[in-house]
């Protein structure tokens, strides 16, 4: 098979998995929420309520599609699509496992091994806010606009701290390629053990970037009705909600890749290379991803939402100085090692 076809198949598999995981994240979210509140959660549609996401999807498809009269029609339609595309694009540079060898063909389990993979992720993540911004602006509604503006300013504020926390990581790894960063972490050399402060900053920023609680001010129901998606209905609303879960999946994957050794685990690294090892490695990565998805939900159902000034204070007055301090410490340690 030509490499292009293999790549196409691989990309569609990753696409499918992203959608599938996002779909069941909605289910998991409701179950986790229920369990943390001593409830049972959805359990009527299918065994253990496993068909609930399908039922939700069908419901959204059959809802009335409504576009406000004064809305900018094209931008209104573009918003959710743009959000979805940017959410899905990030997975292109994430290495999902070591190379898969079938006979003589070697299949790299990564969309593309860009030598600036980390930069690519940052680029796409910062594009992500445009979907929200376009959708919120095009709705021609105060609440939507406020939500969109909040999303934009929040993303700008936290991208800075996120970038700075990553700089410390890059100083250590001396590469921007995701694959190389993962391969440096084999065994117990997980970056989180060398960069605990950086990891913490990155984690907080990841929450802010994905608009998850406690930083879900853009869609803050208590103040802004539904925030940027107030005017959206039917599957366009579904796209916004769904893309949020894809974002969550991808940021869990990025956290696992950058700080928790990606597909590496100590006992698997010592195995003989082969199919089994490859698949176990993929399993390890997904176990880490699922843990972080759970972590996202766990935090959401524990912490109350930040006030807007607290959000800005945390971003600019705490995280950015901390990130700078982290860079300096990393630099000093690296110099001493040399």
């Amino acid at each position: 098979m030509s490499p292009i076809i293999i790549k196409l198949i691989f990309v569609s598999i990753v696409f499918g998995i992203s959608l599938f995981v996002a779909m069941y994240s909605t289910y998991a979210e409701r179950k986790v929420a229920a369990f943390l509140q001593d409830r049972l959660g959805p359990n009527r549609a299918g065994p253990f309520g496993l068909l609930q996401p399908l039922a939700d999807g069908v419901k959204l498809f059959f809802k009335e599609e409504f576009i406000p009269l004064k809305a900018d029609r094209w931008l209104f339609l573009m918003g959710p699509g743009f959000f979805m595309i940017t959410a899905l694009m990030t997975s292109a540079v994430i290495p999902f496992g070591p190379d898969l060898k079938i006979g003589d063909t070697v299949i790299p389990l990564q969309g593309t091994d860009l030598n600036v993979g980390l930069l690519y992720i940052f680029g796409v993540v910062s594009l992500g806010v445009y979907g929200v911004l376009i959708g919120g602006w095009a709705s021609n509604n105060k609440f939507s606009l406020l939500g969109a503006i909040r999303a934009a300013s929040q993303n700008i504020s936290y991208e800075l701290a996120m970038g700075l926390s990553i700089i410390a990581l890059v100083m250590m790894t001396a590469t921007l390629s995701m694959r190389e960063i993962v391969d440096q972490q084999s065994g117990w050399h997980w970056n989180v053990l060398y960069q605990p402060l950086g990891f913490l900053i990155f984690l907080v920023c990841a929450f802010a970037e994905t608009n998850r609680a406690p930083f879900d001010l853009p869609e803050c129901e208590t103040e802004l009705v539904g925030g940027y998606h107030t005017e959206y209905s039917s599957m366009k609303l579904g796209f916004f909600l769904f893309a949020e879960y894809i974002n969550m999946f991808i940021s869990s994957a990025v956290i696992a890749t950058l700080y928790f050794g990606g597909y590496h685990a100590p006992f698997i690294d010592s195995m003989d290379p082969g199919m089994l090892k490859t698949f176990l490695s993929i399993g390890v990565l997904f176990a880490k991803i699922f843990f972080f998805i759970f972590f996202f939900m766990w935090v959401r159902w524990t912490l109350p939402r930040f006030r807007y000034d607290q959000l800005m204070n945390l971003g600019w007055k705490m995280l950015i100085p901390l990130a700078v301090v982290n860079i300096i410490i990393t630099g000093i340690v690296l110099l001493m090692k040399m």
């Binding site: 369990f35 943390l36 001593d38 409830r39 049972l40 766990w298 935090v299 524990t302 705490m318």
Partner: protein, 167 residues
């Protein structure tokens, strides 16, 4: 004036460093939510499981029959008189000789209606009844309906089923 010694003096101090970085509080909170993950769930799966009702719960009314299966009610009207919500109406009639096995006394209620929208389920009818004919069941509630007419319960829905008594 101090009434109790429960008063606790709370000083508003500026937050300490640990409090300002939120992290210890966050970890503590997450511990609490995690412990709830494994706790027993409070949900009762309603149509399959039902919450056990109290022995003295006052639910839907029933007009009892005696040991021979004859209706106990004699349409004396004391229940209607006792009813604070004026939910009960009835029409009395004289028993025909051939209906002796159906009604215990010589007078019986030809029509007996309770308006369940008016009824407040206080149980005063039960207390007022000299013949121990009307009771509020403790295992059955007045059902919901879309029509007002459905809430006026006649004898067809109030009298204890005949067949049940015989078996």
């Amino acid at each position: 004036m101090q009434l109790t010694n429960k008063r606790k003096h709370m000083a508003r101090k500026p937050m300490t460093f640990l409090e300002r970085i939120y992290l210890p509080a966050i970890v503590k909170g997450m511990g609490i939510t995690l412990s709830h993950l494994f706790k027993k769930k409070a949900t009762i799966q309603y149509p399959e499981q039902k919450r056990p009702m109290s022995e003295v719960f006052r639910g839907l009314h029933i007009l009892k029959r005696d040991d021979q299966g004859a209706e106990r009610c004699t349409a004396c009207g004391l229940c209607a008189l006792a009813c604070p919500a004026e939910a009960i109406t009835m029409t009395a009639a004289e028993r025909k000789p051939q209906d002796k096995h159906l009604y215990r006394e010589e007078k019986y209620a030809e029509v007996y209606e309770i308006n369940m929208l008016r009824c407040i389920f206080c149980g005063l009818c039960e207390e007022a009844c000299p013949k121990a004919a009307i009771f509020l069941q403790n295992d059955k509630m007045a059902p919901a309906s879309y029509e007002r007419e459905d809430f006026i319960f006649g004898k067809d829905r109030l009298v204890e089923p005949f067949l049940l008594k015989k078996s």
